[in-house]
């Protein structure tokens, strides 16, 4: 597959260089919100949506910054963008879909400080993706984040009924599980390249 093609970029962000398990982005919610599959899924939806919105706006802002040669303001503008997107998404949800708001609403403030959102914007800038590549990248990233967090939630739900020693409290266990998940995802490396 052509490494610059949209499908490869999506695949890379989704599986090969999974945002959580390979690039270490979005770990705070990954550890904190993955106790139950339903909440994890809702969190993933909210995150994916914000990721998509921020990524497209970040691309636009970056073009403006380059045009005016004020690239040193990039970080500040990205973070302002993310904070406002989250606020915007919250308002839109509240107005148009109160049910969805009740399900996802509590996660939205958490998403502002989610490394994954800022990570998408920064990575797509440093790799120089054009608009469609950025969209593909953010969609893949959102899907990858969702996959990882739902997998983790599934594992943790199962383990709730097991007899684990006390010292494997939430965080230590999550880390070990994440490590094993990450190992399995390493199997995707080299996918899509011609042998």
């Amino acid at each position: 597959m052509n490494p610059e093609s949209l499908s490869f970029i999506f695949l890379s962000a989704f599986l090969i260089n999974n945002f959580v398990l390979a690039l270490f982005l979005g770990l705070c919610p990954f550890v904190g919100v993955s106790a139950k599959r339903d909440t994890a899924f809702n969190m993933a939806l909210a995150t994916a949506f914000v990721m998509f919105v921020s990524s497209t706006c970040a691309y636009a802002i970056n073009q403006v910054l380059i045009a005016f040669d004020i690239e040193f303001l990039r970080l500040i503008s990205y973070i302002a963008l993310i904070a406002s997107s989250v606020q915007l998404v919250e308002m839109i949800l509240k107005k148009f879909s109160p049910t969805l708001f009740r399900a996802l609403g509590i996660f939205l403030p958490l998403i502002t400080t989610n490394c994954a959102i800022l990570g998408v914007a920064l990575f797509q800038t440093s790799r120089g993706y054009d608009f469609f590549q950025s969209v593909s990248f953010s969609l893949g990233g959102g899907a990858g984040f969702g996959l990882a967090i739902v997998l983790m939630a599934g594992l943790r739900e199962k383990l709730e009924l097991s007899n684990l020693p006390n010292i494997t409290q939430a965080a230590a266990l999550s880390m070990m599980l994440a490590g094993i998940l990450s190992l399995t995802f390493m199997g995707f490396a080299g996918l899509g390249t011609t042998a």
Partner: protein, 239 residues
């Protein structure tokens, strides 16, 4: 609740919009000022660091070179530019007597983990790729990283055939990586056993770069060879 801070016992009046906006404005200006200050101060240092890094790589792949000139390849034409131009740049090395000694060309390709970037040495007169410097790679340590150190792999590049065909539209032969131990032709690359994906990436990137750039270089070779003699602004002297 102890009456420790009297002012904070009363509910403070909602600050006017002006006060909110002016606070944000002041903070924004302050931060903008700080950033611009540090940016302007560090910009020349960073540019110098980048130039030194590029230079180091160029002199590593063109050991006989004493100085270099930068060229931009755009739409089939080659023009001399300075270091800071963006685009597909190639570097021509010249020895002490301003004789052309070779070209340093960039190449990149998706490897095992992420993109691998190389700068390779190319001798247009003989059509040989003579070695490379790894600029950026996040390959698996001990496996993909062997492209920097593995002597057998590096021996592939004493002269990798990348000759341009007669019509100057591409290379005579497709450069490709073959299984470890089965290299038969000078345009094949013997892969590192246990690190096929990274080795394949190296083969693919040389082929891609060669097919795209070497014909253009051929067409403009005299321009590059004599550029130094024209004594247009040069840089990178190793004195």
């Amino acid at each position: 609740m102890a009456d420790l801070d009297n002012e904070q016992n009363k509910v403070p009046p909602l600050p006017s919009s002006i006060s909110l906006i002016s606070t944000l404005g002041v903070v924004a200006m302050l931060s903008g000022f700080l950033v611009v200050l540090v940016y302007e101060y560090t910009k020349p240092i960073i540019a110098e660091n980048q130039r030194l890094a590029t230079e180091r790589a160029i002199f590593k792949v063109l050991p006989k070179a004493n100085s270099y000139l930068t060229f931009l390849i755009k739409e089939g034409a080659i023009t001399q530019v300075d270091d800071t131009t963006k685009g597909e740049l190639i570097y021509a090395g010249y020895d002490k007597n301003n004789n052309f000694v070779g070209l340093a060309v960039n190449a990149a390709e998706q490897g095992y983990q992420d993109i691998v970037k190389l700068l390779y040495g190319y001798q247009p007169e003989t059509g040989c790729i003579t070695g490379y410097d790894v600029l950026k790679s996040t390959e698996t340590p001990g496996f993909g990283t062997k492209i920097t150190t593995d002597k057998e792999f590096l021996a592939n590049f004493s002269c990798l055939d990348a000759k341009v065909n007669q019509e100057q539209t591409g290379l005579i032969n497709v450069i490709k990586t073959v299984r470890h131990g089965s290299k038969a032709k000078p345009w094949e690359i013997d892969a590192i056993s246990g690190s096929t994906i990274t080795s394949n990436a190296v083969g693919r990137m040389f082929n891609k770069s060669g097919q795209a750039l070497h014909p253009i270089i051929s067409k403009n070779l005299t321009l590059i060879q004599s550029a130094k003699q024209l004594k247009r602004g040069d840089h990178g002297q190793l004195n």
